[in-house]
Symmetry: C2
Subunit: 195 residues, 2 copies
DNA sequence: GGAAATACTTGATCTACATCAATCTTCTTT
DNA sequence: AAAGAAGATTGATGTAGATCAAGTATTTCC
C-alpha cells in the first residue's frame, strides 16, 4: 500500500515546487488521523486547532441552529482542506462541527506548525492564497445562487457541479447544504424525474 | 491634500513590511482612477482586468438575473479590494457588474503587474492569503445566515455588522444584498420600529 | 439475519415572503 | 427652486417551500 504522503505531496506540487528539505519539514508537521463514519473531527465549542487535509473519505462541516436543525457549510472529500477557519485563526470556540460521512483519513497540521511552515517555506503562502481564491469564487457563486435562485434551480446546479459527491452522500445532507427540508428536496427530485 | 498612496501603504503595512524599493515598485503598478456615482468599474461581459482597491467611496458588485433583478455579491468601501475574481483569474467574461454607489476613487492593478508583484515581492502572497482568509470566513457566515435564518434575522445581523455601511446606502441595495424584495425589507423595518 | 435506527416519500395544511399596484417621500439635476 | 427620477411605504393577493404526520424503504450493527 502506498504512502499517504505521496497523495498530499502530489496535490501540493500542482501549485508549488518544494526542495527535498522543504518536503521533509512539511512531512514532519503532518499528523495522520483516521476517523470512523460519524466520528467528530471537531465539535462546536472546542477550538479548531488544526487545518486538515482529506486523504480519503468525506467530511462535512455544519452548524446546528436553535431548533436543532443542521446546516451544512461545506463538504470535504479527497484533496480538500477543512477546518472551522474562524475558530482556527482567532482561537475562539468553534461554531461549526466537522464529522465524517464515511470512514475518513486526514492529515492535520497544528496552527503553530502551519505558521512555521509559512515562515520557513514561504511558497505555502502562495499555495494557500490560490486555494483560497478558488474557494472564495465558489462561495460567491453559492451565495448568488442562494439569494437569486429557486430551490429547484439550486439543486440542479449542485447536481451538475457535484455529481460524484452527490452519489456518495445521503439526500438529506444535500438538503441541509442547499438550505431546504428533506421533504422539499424529495419533491423536487420527483418533479424532475417526470421530465 | 495628502497623497492617496499613503492610504493604501498604511493598509498594507498592517500585514507586511516593505522595503523602500518594494514600495516604489508597488506604487508603479497602481493606477489611480475616479468614478462618478453610478459609473461602472466593470460591466458583465467584459473581462475583469484589474484587482481594485477602494480609496474613497463605495462600490457594489452584483449580478442581474433573467428578470432583470439585481443581486448584490458584495459592497466595497474604503480599504476593500474588489473585482470579479473568477473573470480576473480565468480571463473569461465577467458575470458580475461593479459600479459606484457614491463618487469613488480606486487604485487598480493589472493582472500581469499583480503576477510580477507576487514574484518580486512574495510577501504579497502572504497579505492576500490573509485577506482571503478573512473574506472566506465572512462569506461562510453569510452562507449560513442565508440558509438558516429568516429575512428578519439576516437583516438584524447585517444591520449590526455593517451599521456604518447601512447609513451610506439606499435601503433597496440592502434588500438586494440580503436576497429579499425592497417591499419585504420595508415591512421588516416597520415591524422592528414597533419594538 | 433480524431488530432498530436512519433515510426517504407522500399528503394536508400553514406561513414567510413575493408580486402587483398605487401612493408618498426623498434625492438629483438643471 | 422646480421637475423628474429614484427610493420607500402600504395594501391586497399569490405561491414556494415549511411543517406536521404517517407511512415505506434502506442501512446499520449485535
Amino acid at each position: 500500500m502506498s504512502d499517504p504522503h505521496e497523495f498530499i505531496l502530489q496535490h501540493i506540487s500542482r501549485h508549488i515546487t518544494l526542495s527535498e528539505q522543504d518536503i521533509q519539514f512539511f512531512k514532519s508537521v503532518l499528523r495522520h488521523r483516521k476517523l470512523r463514519k460519524r466520528q467528530y473531527l471537531l465539535q462546536a465549542g472546542d477550538v479548531s486547532l488544526y487545518e486538515n487535509f482529506v486523504l480519503k473519505g468525506c467530511l462535512r462541516a455544519y452548524t446546528v441552529d436553535n431548533d436543532g436543525t443542521e446546516h451544512i457549510v461545506m463538504f470535504a472529500v479527497e484533496g480538500w482542506w477543512v477546518s472551522d477557519l474562524y475558530s482556527f485563526l482567532a482561537g475562539t470556540p468553534a461554531t461549526q462541527n466537522i464529522d465524517a460521512l464515511e470512514d475518513t483519513e486526514v492529515f492535520s497540521i497544528e496552527k503553530n506548525d502551519l505558521e512555521k511552515l509559512y515562515q520557513q517555506v514561504p511558497e505555502f503562502n502562495r499555495m494557500f492564497r490560490i486555494l483560497l481564491q478558488n474557494a472564495f469564487v465558489a462561495q460567491q457563486q453559492r451565495i448568488i445562487g442562494s439569494i437569486s435562485q429557486t430551490a429547484e434551480e439550486q439543486y440542479t446546479s449542485f447536481s451538475t457541479k457535484y455529481s460524484t459527491l452527490e452519489q456518495r452522500i445521503p439526500q438529506n445532507q444535500v438538503a441541509a447544504y442547499l438550505g431546504v427540508t428533506p421533504e422539499t428536496l424529495s419533491r423536487i427530485r420527483k418533479q424532475q424525474a417526470k421530465k
